[in-house]
């Protein structure tokens, strides 16, 4: 890649939830801001902009990362998954989203998109995380409303389901 000059915009393209999107970004533009302001994908939230709250978490090539600590140019040519990609086209919730709803794991929902994207990666890694491991993973997110009990319940439910499916 040639050197991108400060203040000059370049064309950035990546696969967002399976579809190609493009926009213009100067080097300093954060991935979170690119998603929200260039693409209009406002499902990804921005809380602290320094990596602490987790609201901006998305998956980059499948891996849960902070989009406020990633530059838009770094996502060029890669795969980005956000909360918008979780539910079906007709609005049917994903398994994780449905478990969140059942267990009252959200209230205002500000923190939820980031938490869901973290969990998508976390659960995809297999194993059967216990409550301690789930809480440790959730420590990378701040929720100011509900507390974390509902989220822990939702995740434990899914871990249990996955376990049963594997043994079925």
């Amino acid at each position: 890649m040639p050197r991108l000059k400060a203040g000059e915009k370049s064309r950035i393209s990546f696969k967002l939830n399976g579809r190609k999107v493009s926009g213009d970004a100067e080097p300093r533009l954060l991935l979170a801001d690119f998603l929200r302001h260039e693409i209009g994908a406002t499902g990804t939230h921005v809380g602290c902009e320094h990596g602490v709250c987790g609201a901006c978490t998305v998956r980059l090539d499948g891996v849960a990362i902070r989009s406020c600590l990633t530059l838009a140019v770094q996502a060029n040519g890669r795969r980005v998954d956000t909360v918008e990609g979780l539910a079906e086209e007709d609005g049917t919730l994903s398994r994780l989203q449905a478990a969140f709803r059942r267990n009252h794991a959200l209230q205002c929902g500000f923190c939820t998109p980031g938490i869901l994207m973290s969990l998508e990666d976390f659960l995809a890694r297999g194993g059967e995380p216990d409550e301690g491991e789930i809480r440790e993973m959730l420590s990378g997110h701040l929720c100011r409303c509900t507390g974390y009990s509902g989220m822990v319940r939702a995740v434990l439910e899914i871990v249990e389901e996955m376990h049963e499916e594997q043994n079925a």
């Binding site: 050197r3 300093r28 902009e49 849960a64 406020c68 600590l69 990633t70 976390f122 993973m137 990378g140």
Partner: protein, 276 residues
Amino acid sequence: MKPAPFDYIAPESVEEALAVLAEAGEDARILAGGQTLSPMLNMRLVEPAVLIDISRLPALDYIRRKNGHIEIGAAATQNALENWPELAAQAPLLAQALPHIGHFQTRNRGTVCGSLAFADPSAELPLCLALLGGEVVLQSASRQRVVKAADFQLGMLSTAREADEIISAARFPVAEAGAGYGFAEMALRHGDFALAAIAVKAGKTGVRIAIGGVADRPMVRNFPAGIEGAALDDALNDLAWDLAAADDPHATARYRRELVRRLGRKTVEEAKSCRV
């Protein structure tokens, strides 16, 4: 809360990265995982003219055993090390320390070498490197040198790295046969900076302890192999005072000394009990 403008380059080789760095020197910053640098950019604590992104250089993305060391390239993430299949057997101390570093989401991107480069006094990886007597490989366009942990970290956020060098790799000695290792830290919340972090190696010939988060860099002491009871408490008490802790908004000096004494004792005992 947005970075000041900078040029961005993602070089295609280490040589290219070093050439750009040689030219830009102090005006450049190396971007690897960005879990420390990006917040500093966002808060405009640093305003480099150019960012050199080495995060996707395959030549720097490796973890391997080499001459009694685990060598970790500059692009290897903390998460990659955490999931390295040989970790628990080859480096039990790192296996214990890694989960304390930030969070799952930041370890996915944060690098091992980046943590050493930042040299935060309370960070876990510099502490482990100091305890184990590891080394870092510094590479510039014209030379390569290997620096021991004790000579690398010079103080608060300060290292022996020159402006034209990158840390191309870190080398952690593999576990010594028969030695036990222990790690513990106290932080206000999981993933926060440690108020005190303690790493211990209980070997056949001695007990080695390193303390982070109290002085301006990790501090290492050697105790006799058989140390226990009142002698251990006295030695830890002396160490706690020698670290010259200061009050800060997170904890008082007195509290930190108490952590060195109590957590120190617990960690030494744990390391000894792991000795085989």
